[in-house]
Subunit: 203 residues, 2 copies
Amino acid sequence: MKLYDGGRAPNPRRVRIFFAEKGVPLPELVPIDIGAREHKTEAFTRINPLQRLPVLVLDDGTALAETVAICRYVETLHPEPPLFGRDAKEQAQIEMWNRRVELGLFASVAAVFRHSHPSMAELEGQVPEWAEANRELIDDHLWLLDMQLASNAFVCGERLTIADITAGIAIDFMKPSRIPLPEQFGNIRRWHGELSSRPSWKA
Amino acid sequence: MKLYDGGRAPNPRRVRIFFAEKGVPLPELVPIDIGAREHKTEAFTRINPLQRLPVLVLDDGTALAETVAICRYVETLHPEPPLFGRDAKEQAQIEMWNRRVELGLFASVAAVFRHSHPSMAELEGQVPEWAEANRELIDDHLWLLDMQLASNAFVCGERLTIADITAGIAIDFMKPSRIPLPEQFGNIRRWHGELSSRPSWKA
């Protein structure tokens, strides 16, 4: 296996943290320099036509793209500790929260970054109005997460799951997107502080 | 179990079609009238703070929101036929394609609908520039799907999976979004014609 990796970008980090929380060594890394547009080359486009990172290439040549698909593959091969849940109900609740956080907070922070950060102007057709519309949604997304963390150590209860990795990376991504985390979200601050001090978070 | 249902809206349809393809009878339906803003009431907000449909409420009171989380719950309770795949590699490929279609074509069609359709002006803060940016992406999304269907009966091979349901609903959703399907995408036309004639598609 080879992992086509994109350094500090959020999705490559999600996958590397997932491997670390599983206690599974990373496969051979193939670094792709997003700043140098290496993900737009013909060679990489043959691996992922969507020109996105990361991609896990299996020994038989199968290219698995999409962060959550790669994580689920690792989960099936290495079930312990279960980061997608154990029984039907737990799995569905974790899927629900992972999607709520990914399609809500994570997507809005990414929209602000892509559509307003000067460094992205060359890579994306920026729509400044979309950055602003998403900036206005951030507090609602944070409120939902903070409420959930008021009564739970982690997003889905007493154990870390993939939903914590997605949510934690979204919070980290607020900094380069120039979105401050308001003081009032004390539960997020407590949880994110704990998350950031885990060894996996350096992955 | 009770399924809070939203009629002809795309996500409620995805879940009802999933039940039908599984051969699992629908649970008791609780119709929620989106046009009458019933999903914005205090009572429904207690069930899903995101005010979205559908929601599956289990007998113990657990509310499962998010279409794919509901489908995965049904898959775990009723594994046959497997609509999320069998082994690790197949499951990961289906997850990859379901996400590619959902975060690509489905999301862009929904963005055009929400941000340009007159009927949505009251429900959403519309950003017309976002509708236009997504309209320009539709052909790229369709091209990716058409290429995949050139060498596969269904999106992920010889059997229908959740990725076909997501992609088929996205194609259906193009009509109310006033996006024509160009003639050139012959593989999509062949596959969508077959899909639409399945008994499940009336669900």
